[in-house]
Amino acid sequence: MTCAVTAHLSLRAVFDRFAGHTGLAYWHEDGQLSYRDLHNAASRLAARLAGNGSGPVLIHGHKDRRFLIAYWACLLSGRTIVPVELDQRSERIRQIARVSGATLALFAAPGSLPGRVGDLPAWPVEIEAPAPGWVHVDGIASDAAPVLPEIRDTAAAYVLFSSGTTGQPKGIAISYGNLADFADWAGTLLAGMDPTGCISGNVRYCFDVSLFEMWFAWLSLRPIVAPDHRDIFNIRKHLDRYRDHKLTTWVSTPALALHWLKDRRFDAGTLPDLHTMLFCGEVLTKSLVETLWSRFPGLRIINTYGPTECTVAVTSIEIRPEHLADSRPLPIGPPRTGTRLRRASAASGLDELIIEGKSVGLGYLGDPERQASAFPAAATYRTGDWGDCDGMGNWFFAGRKDREIKLNGYRIDLNILEAALRGIDGVKDAVVDLHPNGKQLRAFLLGPTGRDALLAIGRRLGRDMAPHMVPKLWYGADGFEMNANSKLDRGRFVERMEGGTPAVYVERETSGTVAAE
C-alpha cells in the first residue's frame, strides 16, 4: 500500500511562490520580512532541520518575524511544529516537550539565546544569511541546498496544547493532510474578500485561529501586520498601524473585537479599507454584529465554528441582516467541502454534533482513553457540542454537553477546575462559574475563608494550571445550604457569597507565583 504524499507537495507549492517576491510578508514592531526573505531564511533553516533528526520541534516565541521562518522551516522539513509562547512557565514548557516528544527547540524571538528551552537544545532562528562558506555547529553548510524528505499526509504537521485534566497539557495533533485541506478551504474563503491591503495579526500562534491569518496572507501574497500582546492595551497604536497598511481582512475571537470596540476610533473612519471580519473560537452574538455594522457600514462578517481537533474550523457563513431578525441565534453555517456534520441523538432530546471527513485531525497525544471516546471511528470526531440544522443546511451551535466554557478563546472545563479545587487541603467543596460580565472566572469555596487562605489556594491552583485556568475572583464561606438531594445548593451558595464579602483577586502571572494580597 502506498501512502499519499500530496499534502506536503501542495503546501510546498504555496511556499514556492514566495521565492523572489519582494512584497511585504510580515510587519511587526521589531522588524519586517519580505516574502523573498521569508522564503530564503526558511529554506536555509529547513535544510538544517532535515539533516538533524526527525522529532517534533518546539517553536518558542511570540509575534516576532522569526516565528514564521521557524514555522515554514519545520513544515518543509517534516518536523512537527509545537508552538510555545514566551510567557509560558518553564515547568509547562518541560511538560509540553515531554508529551510531544520534541527533540529540539527553535528560539524565535530577539535577544540572547537561552541555553536550553524546556530541557531541549535550542537553536536561534536566523533572519540574514550567514557569510558564504559558513558551517553551522551541526556540520551543515549555510549554503547547502535543502534536501527535503518525502512526507506522508498522515504525518503530524503541528501539535497544539490546551490545558488538560490535573493541569497536564493536552496535545492535539493535526496532520499534513488536514492542513492542506484547511489551506484549500482558506483559498475558497479568500475568493469573496478584498485581494489588496493587509491581514490582521491579532492571534497568537499557539492558538489555531491564527491559521486563518497566516494562510489568508500566504495564499494571496499579502502582509500580516502583527500587534504585540505586550502592547495589547495600546489599541490606538495598533489602529494606526492597521490604517497605515490598509487593513482589509480581520480575524479574531469575538472577545477581541469587543475590546477594540471600547475605542470609538475603531470604525470605518479610521479603517476605511476594512472589508471582512472573520470570527472563530467563540459564540458570535447578534449584539456584536449590530455594533460592528454601526461602526463599519457594509462590513462582511463571517462566522465560523469548529474545534481544534478538526483543524480550526469546519463551518462558515456570511452573516446577513435576516440572521439578526431571526429568533434563533446566529447560524454557524454549512460544513466546508470534504467535511460532513451529523447529529447523534442523546437522551436529553438534544443532538450532539459529529464531524466527519478530511478536517478531522489525528487526535490526542498519549491519551488513548480520551482518544477512543472522542474519535470513535476513522475521520470521525464527537464534538461534545449540541447542534441543530435547519432545512437550508445551516447549522446552529446550541451549547456544550459538559461544562466547558470559552473565555477569550480558551476552552475551560469548569468540572475539571472544581475537581482540582476539591483536591486541595481545606476545600470541602467548590463552585466555579463565569462572572455575569462574561469576562472573568469566579471560584466559590466551601471551607476556607479570609484573604490569606483564598490566596494560598489560588497560588496552589496556579502551580498546576495554565494561567488562563486560574479564576480571577475568589469567595469563601464556611456554611452552606443543601438542596433536596442533600447536596450543596450551588445556586444559593453562589448567591449568598456574591452579596457578602468582596472578592479576593488573584493575579495571572506566568513567572511562577500567581497570587496577590
Binding site: R230, I232, I235, R236, L258, Q440, K472, Y505, A516
Partner: protein, 88 residues
C-alpha cells in the same frame, strides 16, 4: 513633579462605579486590588487620553511595571509627557 494620581483615580471610578475615590491611593494595585483585566486597561487609557491634556500613548511601549500601581502609572505618564514635549 507633576502627579497624575488624581486623574487616574477619577478614571478608575468612571470604569468601576462601585469604587469611591477615597478607597484608592498611590499604592493601589490594578490587578491585585481592583481586578483589572485587559479590557479595563483599554478603557483606562482611553479615558486618560481624553482627560490628561496633551497625553497620548502614541507609539509608546508599555511594560507590565508601568501599570502595576496607580503611582507607577502616574510616573509613566510623567515620562511620556516629557517624551511628547521633546518630540514636539
Amino acid at each position: 513633579m507633576t502627579d497624575y494620581s488624581a486623574q487616574i483615580i477619577e478614571a478608575i471610578c468612571e470604569i468601576d462605579e462601585t469604587r469611591s475615590p477615597g478607597s484608592l491611593g498611590p499604592q493601589t494595585r490594578f490587578e491585585a486590588d481592583l481586578g483589572f483585566d485587559s479590557g479595563s486597561f483599554i478603557e483606562l487609557f482611553l479615558i486618560l487620553e481624553e482627560t490628561v491634556e496633551g497625553f497620548t500613548l502614541g507609539s509608546a511601549r508599555l511594560a507590565p511595571e508601568d501599570f502595576s500601581t496607580i503611582q507607577a502609572l502616574s510616573d509613566f505618564i510623567v515620562r511620556r509627557m516629557i517624551e511628547l514635549r521633546v518630540a514636539a
